[in-house]
């Protein structure tokens, strides 16, 4: 399976003065790597996928494919979508509505260029259907399926191709939370067993953390940071990345606020403390007052007021607490993130 390198990808829509949808995006996808592109709506993540697949023509930049052969990386940016051997799963599934599930799965295999025999197609389809638990749904029409089943058909349609690279555009966005959790595991397992590269686009940081070999954080058309999930979580390059991961969100304090709370300071302007980094101790004379208490099962989420500074803190459920209780707070200096902006 080849590795890919995206270099200086720029895509502009509409008038020349507008901010480009993608602005010099560069990154690499290793062979068999699952890269998650994390970004908010409008960050350019879908445009990025469409450019890699060839559906969107970039204004500048190159897409290089390195199959590991002696000829080295090949520039594939001028190839049409069907020449790139990538499979894409769309956010809205895009199943062919007048075809049965089976026909939908077989569709990508029927292209003449592949030259597959009917038997081969049949075998691949039933294998994919079995992998995805769709064997008993093969004769149904897509309109009779549930959201999760439709999504599995869409994934199956990408799967049968055995592409060199998977492109997934928020495939789980329209599914309910429980199903999404299960599908994340399924996708992860499938990608591992196939051993092919995958670029997975999402705005959901939990999805990103649980899937990714590496996360690429995209904001307003630019790459903010790229790295393994724990690195992005522990060492975000700035407050935008820090805020994007973790729920409840990170507490960002100015150095003045940090000073008031007696935290060790550095020359950086911002301090970030994750909710779980705080050590909470009940103390009737403590400076922190609980204003909101949420029981989330495995943990409690508190909103604390420390002399006018509002903090989000998680605590073990063994800590009996109600609104109005007072606390003492502590934090390991190693858990404090110092950020420029």
């Amino acid at each position: 399976m080849p590795a890919y390198e995206i270099a200086g990808l720029t895509v502009a829509f509409g008038n020349a003065g507008a901010r480009p949808a993608l602005d010099g995006v560069s990154f690499k996808v290793g062979a068999g790597e699952l890269l998650v592109v994390l970004g908010r709506t409008g960050s350019g993540k879908t445009t990025l996928l469409r450019s890699i697949s060839g559906l969107q023509k970039p204004a500048a930049g190159r897409i290089l494919e390195d199959g590991g052969g002696p000829q080295g990386p090949v520039d594939i940016s001028s190839l049409p979508p069907h020449g790139r051997d990538m499979a894409m799963v769309f956010q809205n599934f895009s199943l062919y509505p007048r075809m049965s599930v089976k026909e939908n799965l077989a569709f990508p295999l029927r292209a003449k260029a592949l030259g597959l025999s009917a038997g081969e197609i049949e075998a691949r389809v039933s294998q994919a259907a079995e992998t995805l638990g769709l064997s008993d749904k093969l004769c149904r029409s897509p309109t009779e399926l549930s959201g999760g089943e439709m999504q599995r058909v869409a994934i199956g349609r990408a799967l049968v191709r055995r592409p060199r690279l998977f492109l997934m555009d928020e495939p789980l966005a329209s599914l309910d939370a429980k199903l999404r959790e299960r599908m994340v595991l399924e996708i992860r397992g499938l990608q591992r067993s196939l051993g092919c590269g995958m670029i997975y686009v999402t705005h959901d940081h939990v999805e990103a953390m649980s899937l990714a070999d590496r996360i690429l954080v995209l904001d307003r058309g630019k790459v903010l940071q790229a790295g393994p999930p724990e690195e992005i979580y522990r060492h975000p390059c700035d407050s935008r990345v820090a805020r994007m991961l973790g729920r409840p969100g990170i507490n960002l304090l100015t150095s003045e606020e940090g000073g008031r709370m007696g935290l060790p300071l550095s020359e950086k302007r911002l301090l970030g403390v994750r909710p779980e980094s705080w050590r909470v101790t009940a103390d009737p004379a403590g400076p922190a007052v609980a204003s909101v208490v949420e029981h989330l099962g495995p943990q409690m989420a508190l909103v604390l007021d420390v002399q006018g500074i509002v903090l989000r803190v998680t605590a073990p459920p063994s800590l009996r607490v109600k609104a109005g209780d007072r606390f003492r707070l502590g934090v390991d200096p190693a858990d404090i993130l110092y950020l420029d902006r």
């Binding site: 894409m88 769309f90 075809m99 569709f107 260029a113």
Partner: protein, 307 residues
């Protein structure tokens, strides 16, 4: 003492208000639909003649028997002629309309203007349009013969007259099929084509498996409308060729007009013919409605997700 505004409402119950509102419509329906329907059924069983002042005689199914068994089979021939007209006209309108819609779907400069111009024929009155075509078709000084440098005779006694009606109808109603086809085509989500493109589907494959099946319900609706409309075609044939019997343009409604208004015969037989036409129309409409229900059930659009 304050009874509020609710009090006068009790003057009439809700159901009597409802009945009162339905009454006028019901009265109109009875006066202008049900009564004529029954009256004409009665007339079709007599030899009623509005010109001769004698009491109509009851003839039972005699009029119907005469129609069906007429020696020249003019009734059956007009029915089959009409059927053939529907087949040819609607077929051509659909083919041309869908093809033009496919072209119009791409964006190009002046598409709006071009589409508007294409739709003009549909906006004209059939009588006016018929008159124009009559001049164009004229055997001696018509523009068509001048263009073709031929002396084609489109007179009603010639088979060519049938095709004159086809040409005029297709010219007039193809825009309608363009419009419906465009509506069907524009409703196809773009991502399906993108998915197909990534899936390495060829142009024919995309057309056969995405464009055609997804635009089909709308096109079928157009076909149904046009078939019903063409089945009762009268104006174009009348303007082009008059209401003579035994011509190549004597469609069912034309024959009905010829029998009803063309001579001094009894009104019983034309009324019976009108009844046959009514039964045929009802049968056609029932079939069509059944089919539309079927299409609606099967062709439900892809379950809407976020675009």
């Amino acid at each position: 003492m304050n009874q509020g505004r609710g009090a006068p409402a009790r003057f009439m119950s809700e159901s009597s208000v409802r009945n009162l509102c339905i009454m006028p419509a019901l009265a109109l329906l009875i006066a202008f639909n049900v009564f004529p329907l029954l009256a004409s059924l009665g007339i079709s069983l007599t030899d009623f003649n509005p010109i001769i002042d004698t009491a109509p005689r009851f003839v039972g199914m005699g009029n119907y028997r005469d129609l069906v068994e007429s020696p020249r089979q003019e009734v059956w021939r007009s029915f089959s002629r009409t059927g053939f007209l529907v087949l040819v006209t609607v077929g051509l309108e659909t083919l041309i309309g869908f093809a033009v819609a496919l072209l119009l779907r791409r964006s190009f400069r002046g598409r709006g203007l071009f589409t508007a111009i294409l739709l003009i024929p549909m906006m004209l009155s059939p009588a006016v349009m018929g008159s124009f075509w009559r001049y164009l078709f004229n055997a001696d000084y018509g523009a068509l013969n001048w263009f073709l440098d031929a002396r084609l005779n489109w007179d009603g006694s010639r088979a060519l007259a049938f095709w004159a009606v086809v040409i005029a109808e297709v010219w007039m109603w193809t825009p309608f099929m363009i419009l419906l086809s465009l509506a069907g085509l524009n409703a196809i989500p773009e991502t399906l084509y993108e998915a197909a493109e990534v899936d390495r589907a060829g142009a024919w494959f995309r057309f056969r498996h995405i464009t055609l099946p997804l635009a089909a319900p709308m096109v079928l609706l157009g076909i149904v409308f046009r078939a019903m409309d063409t089945f009762r075609l009268f104006d174009t044939a009348m303007v082009l060729n008059g209401n003579l019997e035994g011509q190549h343009t004597t469609f069912v409604s034309v024959l009905l007009h010829a029998r009803g208004f063309g001579g001094s015969r009894s009104l019983g037989e034309p009324t019976a013919l009108a009844y046959l036409l009514l039964i045929a129309s009802l049968a056609l409409a029932t079939l069509v409605l059944r089919y539309l229900d079927h299409v609606r059930g099967v062709g439900a659009p892809e379950r809407g997700r976020r675009p």
